[in-house]
Amino acid sequence: MTLIHARGLVKRFGDFTAVDGIDVDVRRGEAFGFLGPNGAGKSSTMRMIGCVSPPTDGVLRILDLDPRRDGPAIRARLGVCPQLDNLDLELTVRENLTTYARFFGIPRKVARARAAELLDFVQLTERADSKVEPLSGGMRRRLTIARALVNEPEIVLLDEPTTGLDPQARHLVWERLFRLKQQGVTLVLTTHYMDEAEQLCDRLVVMDGGKIVAEGSPRALIERYSTREVVELRFNAESQEAFAEKLAGIGERVEVLPDRILLYVADGDEAVAEVQRRALSPASVLVRRSSLEDVFLHLTGRTLVD
């Protein structure tokens, strides 16, 4: 069943087109991602799905309802984890959940019970009666996720769920989101981290300049738009450009970045051997598997995180 259905969806702010006619279908139970750099239109799309931003044009159906007309009814069945935390710093961790539950008309007693369960789920039970103010960024994000679950939503929207967190905190958030996914909750997330998209998403769209440039599972996208392996070469020189010509013909594609050269190849070791046969001596050599970063680079000619 399709929970989110968009056709030719457009969002304009004055002369600026943030979302430029996208088609999206999100099915029940899947983890769906919007991958793209800052300014690609991901957050604007999420806000339209969250029914806090009316579409300028196109079709948008959520839970088979019309966001223009049924905003409150749809929002009652969504959980939203915004990019900027808007927790109440002056309330306790528990009160943040119980007061938010009341906005959904959940009875106080149920709200208290659910808050206890969710604090357990995001591993904040020990901090239940602490204020939010002294909590770390990772704890706050986990609390925001718990708050997004307080109404037992059918779809959880996560806008950049781990941006700004340290690696350990990120992994803890991913692990919780993975458990939600296993429980059958539909997740829709935006990210500009390809590892996040690869870890969490069953299916994703790559966005750039308000448009969708590719769609599929992480695996399928890598297979379609990249090679199995990538060789990263760094040369000790002012410009990497000069070496590109000498590398021509190795693998399917050569990509020159300001600080390194990428060779897209089927077999990394074989390619490295060829580089040595041509008597080139890069300062460093790295063979790795292709990632979504490479897909993005191929599709747009740019890296994801500048």
Binding site: P54, V80, L84, N86, E90, T99, F103, F104
Partner: protein, 250 residues
């Protein structure tokens, strides 16, 4: 649904109410003692036939209503968009813009009513109430609160920095509390200034409150006062609603 938002503000207030008691109750009480008793001693013969303290107290209650309501409509509203960002969290829930606005307005009126209620009790203990009509001071205070809170909500949701709030206090709140007949009759003002007092909402609340506690007829028809205050509240609400919508639904 607005009641859930009101409930949230009450929970939030539970953490800070002790501090707010000082500014919302002790300060007007000190003003009452300082002006009413101190200055009152020099105003022999009273004003309009009543002792100065008794004459001034109802005005001071209306003025307190105005100050509390504006206090609750400035930093808390600006912060709700700019710092605490609570409105954005609320708008992601199934609340409508009107619920978010009305719930917060209800809390501003609640603060106005509780502060003025406490003030009224103390003032009654000083023997300044001449009539049972004095009970009408509370709904009047609520109406004054709403009449100033709604336009202030609109203003505070339009600006992006609190330096604009200082402008509001210097050019709006302070002149209004000085020239609305709280401390001396409006008739003592030059005619031009008098019309400013008539145009602003506070004087209407002062005149009504004074008539109620002294048990005399107000200078204007009571219905005229109430309608004029309701007009401020209504126009202010429309402006605030439009501005909240612009910030929350984009």
């Amino acid at each position: 649904m607005a009641r859930y938002v009101f409930e949230y503000h009450l929970v939030s207030y539970r953490r800070v109410w002790r501090g707010s008691v000082l500014s919302s109750f002790v300060l007007p009480l000190l003003t009452m003692l300082g002006f009413g008793v101190g200055v009152g001693a020099y105003v022999t013969g009273g004003v309009e036939g009543a002792p100065y303290l008794d004459w001034m107290v109802p005005g001071l209650i209306a003025s307190t209503a105005m100050q509390i309501a504006i206090g609750e409509s400035t930093w808390p509203v600006l912060g709700g968009f700019e710092w605490r960002r609570i409105y954005f969290g609320q708008s992601a829930a199934p609340l409508r813009v009107a619920d978010i606005l009305d719930g917060h307005l209800a809390f501003a009126v609640f603060r106005t009513l509780t502060s003025c209620g406490a003030f009224l009790l103390v003032a009654a203990a000083f023997g300044t109430m001449h009539s049972w009509w004095a009970l009408a001071v509370l709904p009047i205070a609520g109406l004054v609160g709403l009449a100033v809170a709604t336009p202030t909500f609109a203003y505070a949701s339009t600006i992006r920095s609190d330096s604009y709030l200082a402008v509001l206090f210097r050019l709006g709140v302070i002149p209004m509390s000085l020239f609305s007949g709280v401390f001396f009759p409006v008739e003592s003002l030059p005619v031009a200034l008098r019309w400013i007092a008539y145009a602003l909402p506070l004087w209407h609340g002062v005149d009504l409150s004074r008539a109620a506690t002294l048990g005399v007829a107000p200078a204007w028809s009571p219905l005229g006062h109430v309608l004029y205050l309701a007009l401020w509240a209504g126009v202010g609400w429309l402006l605030a609603y439009r501005q909240f919508g612009r910030r929350l639904v984009v």
